[in-house]
């Protein structure tokens, strides 16, 4: 076979080579055309006042998380109400900074008046946002701040410290007269949201990190199955845990599963933060005792309104706007304001 294949191969190689040259030429020509078009086409797009409808862009961390789906819904609702042209974009995965940078650039090119963004990377997004602001675009952070905070015109977010405090106070009241053994299922090291909720819970409970009643602390990345694993490990370490703080409801439900398989679900108090529909359902069915509900819909609604106000009345924005948080429980304690699960289900997301 080799000896007969050789001449054929030579012919083939020669053909390939010649065809390649021709193709290269055709291709180079079309690339050159494109470049020529590029430079000939003139003036770039300008952001700002062009007399048309107000244009707002919303950039979320991902397209798939129900939290951001709700946020988008709020933006759409508000956009319809105020006759705003809304466009949306998202990172490809949680943490995708470059995708968000690209979205910011494209929205500026589209001539938006304002951009609302939940940054995937609080620091890395800053140069792109600064460029947008230099072109006169109003930039609002939703849900999570940038670093430094001054890189955006304003932040619309939950007071996460307060969200933690509410469930801390609640757990304290429920555990009155009993000796508490607390497990803390946290987010990840160095992430602001996680730290704020964690510290808030401890403050609400009236203890410090070093308190002997905190018998176990684990990072879960906010993931349900990691939450389950963390809880299993905590129960190995301290089988008598009776209070579980969780960073969000998926983790709370993971912890519930671990507790249930040990027969400990009934006598353990799980508290959480978020207010997603699955979470509030779990409050209703008693798996989770209480959760602090946050409102992504409100963040986006207020954001759109702020852009409209800014364009029409040139109002100045500064700093931080609290979008509210409510304690959701069907087993309220005396002296603490709370809403029941029906209220929560009306306003949940997911």
């Amino acid at each position: 076979m080799p000896s007969s294949a050789m001449p054929a191969a030579r012919v083939r190689a020669r053909r390939t080579a010649r065809a390649t040259t021709r193709r290269t030429a055709a291709c180079a020509a079309s690339a050159a055309l494109l470049l020529a078009g590029l430079t000939a086409c003139g003036e770039g797009a300008q952001a700002g006042d062009d007399g048309g409808p107000v244009k707002v862009g919303l950039i979320t961390k991902t397209d798939t998380n129900p939290f951001f789906v709700k946020m988008k819904e709020g933006a759409k609702k508000s956009a319809e109400k105020h006759d705003v042209e809304l466009s949306t974009a998202a990172g490809k995965f949680d943490g995708d900074n470059e995708g968000q940078v690209t979205a910011v650039e494209n929205m500026v090119a589209a001539g938006v008046d304002g951009i609302m963004i939940t940054p995937n990377d609080s620091e890395a997004i800053v140069p792109a946002l600064e460029q947008a602001r230099d072109k006169g675009v109003l930039v609002l952070a939703l849900d999570s701040p940038t670093e430094p905070k001054t890189a955006t015109d304003a932040l619309y977010a939950t007071d996460n410290h307060k969200a933690g405090e509410l469930i801390g106070e609640y757990a304290k009241a429920r555990m009155k007269g009993k000796k508490a053994k607390i497990a803390m299922l946290d987010l990840a090291p160095g992430v602001a949201v996680g730290t704020l909720r964690h510290d808030g819970f401890l403050k609400g409970y009236g203890i410090k990190d070093s308190d002997p009643s905190v018998v176990c602390s684990q990072h879960t990345q906010g993931d349900r199955s990691k939450g389950q694993t963390a809880m299993e490990n905590c129960l190995q370490k301290a089988p008598d845990i009776n209070v579980v703080y969780t960073i969000n409801e998926p983790v709370a439900l993971g912890a519930y599963k671990a507790l249930k398989s040990k027969g400990r679900a009934e006598d353990t108090l799980i508290v959480s933060v978020d207010g997603g529909c699955t979470g509030v359902e779990a409050v209703k069915s008693g798996k989770i005792a209480a959760t602090s509900q946050q409102y992504p819909l409100v963040m986006a609604e207020q954001g759109v309104e702020a852009v409209v106000q800014h364009v029409e009345k040139d109002t100045d924005l500064k700093g931080y706007y609290d979008t509210g948080v409510n304690l959701i429980t069907d087993d309220a304690v005396q002296g603490q304001a709370a809403k029941d699960s029906t209220f929560g289900l009306d306003r949940c997301w997911g």
Partner: protein
């Protein structure tokens, strides 16, 4: 497309190729599809949005595809040999963190830090090449392993921290210069120059012809006297160097060293290669096609955003385009053969 008169079977192939008119020859090249797709898409978007055809916007598209486009250039070299590289994005991320961190912390002067970053990319590329060539492992498996290794190295070395406060040498490619009324980034120019260089190398040099021969049939290439082992090693290493340049472009574009970058860039680069008409079976395709492929993705992303269409639809359309591109390639080849 053109179903007309197939050349008489008795004619020798080289002569037959010279007979049909130029446009017909063009339709049979692997770049016909992408050129057509790009033209149709651009026409469509220019009717949909006033901003689309502005110089500033088109410069922006090129700036947005320079990182994935450059990765896809390295990917093209490997796919031309019937290989595949799943690790390119992760290798780039590691290179970008190495150069960013070394420079930001002042361990090395900025230019040396850049060289070090490109160097580690070349090293990881060479490691891929050695495992494929000498241990004879399939490229898919080797680069799948390397994807995980490079990802882990990135996160270990960066300590999960974004690197900021970079010296100007690392971000200069993100700066722009005015050309007429349009601002063009230096990185865009570098990307296009890289593509032109490799278009020349692959099309006009002996080395380039050897690459195609290796992709067509490694056995035949070896028998015609090409040192295939050394060639394959070189291709993977050169691809690594190109990923290193992509790393520099990435740092320049975002202005930071970002350990989370590049996680979907391996598949995005393969998308660009496939859209550009390069066959995954090797031996057929052009680097300028890859540039067109990357531009198609960029144009759709940008154009749909200008129209206000959500990003999830951009993914939907990219998926349809990839399948359409491969189908187009298969059908046009079957027509050619019959």
């Amino acid at each position: 497309m053109s179903t007309t008169t197939a050349p008489a079977p008795s004619k020798p192939p080289s002569q037959a190729a010279q007979d049909p008119p130029a446009w017909k020859r063009f339709v049979h090249t692997p770049t016909a599809g992408p050129v057509l797709a790009l033209l149709v898409a651009s026409t469509f978007f220019s009717f949909q949005s006033d901003q689309f055809l502005s110089g500033g916007n088109l410069a922006l598209v090129i700036q947005q595809i320079m990182v994935v486009g450059t990765l896809a250039l390295g990917q093209t070299l490997i796919i031309l040999t019937a290989g595949i590289d799943l690790s390119c994005g992760a290798i780039m991320a590691f290179g970008s963190i190495v150069m960013a961190k070394l420079a930001a912390e002042g361990v090395l002067p900025p230019l040396v830090a850049i060289a070090a970053g490109i160097g580690v990319c070349a090293l990881l590329g060479a490691a891929n090449g050695a495992l494929v060539t000498f241990v004879k492992l399939p490229p898919f498996i080797v680069t799948l392993g390397m994807l995980n290794i490079a990802f882990a190295l990135t996160h270990i070395y960066s300590d999960e921290q974004t690197v900021t406060q970079l010296p100007g040498e690392l971000t200069v490619l993100g700066d722009t210069f005015p050309m007429g009324s349009t601002d063009i980034s230096y990185g865009s120019v570098l990307t296009i120059v890289l593509f032109l260089v490799f278009a020349y190398v692959l099309g006009q040099t002996a080395w380039g012809k050897h690459v195609y021969a290796l992709g067509n049939s490694p056995e035949v290439a070896r028998l015609t006297g090409i040192r295939t082992a050394r060639l394959r090693m070189t291709i993977f290493t050169v691809a690594g160097v190109i990923y290193g340049i992509a790393a520099l472009l990435l740092v320049a574009r975002t202005g930071v060293g970002d350990p989370k970058a590049g996680q979907t860039d391996n598949l995005d680069s393969i998308t660009a290669v496939v859209l550009g008409g390069t066959s995954l079976f090797g031996g057929r395709g052009l680097v300028l096609g890859t540039l067109l492929g990357a531009l198609i993705v960029g144009v759709f992303r940008n154009g749909l955003q200008l129209m206000g269409v959500g990003s999830i639809y951009q993914m939907l359309i990219t998926g349809v385009l990839v399948i359409a591109a491969v189908a187009f390639d298969q059908i046009s080849r079957r027509k050619q053969r019959s």
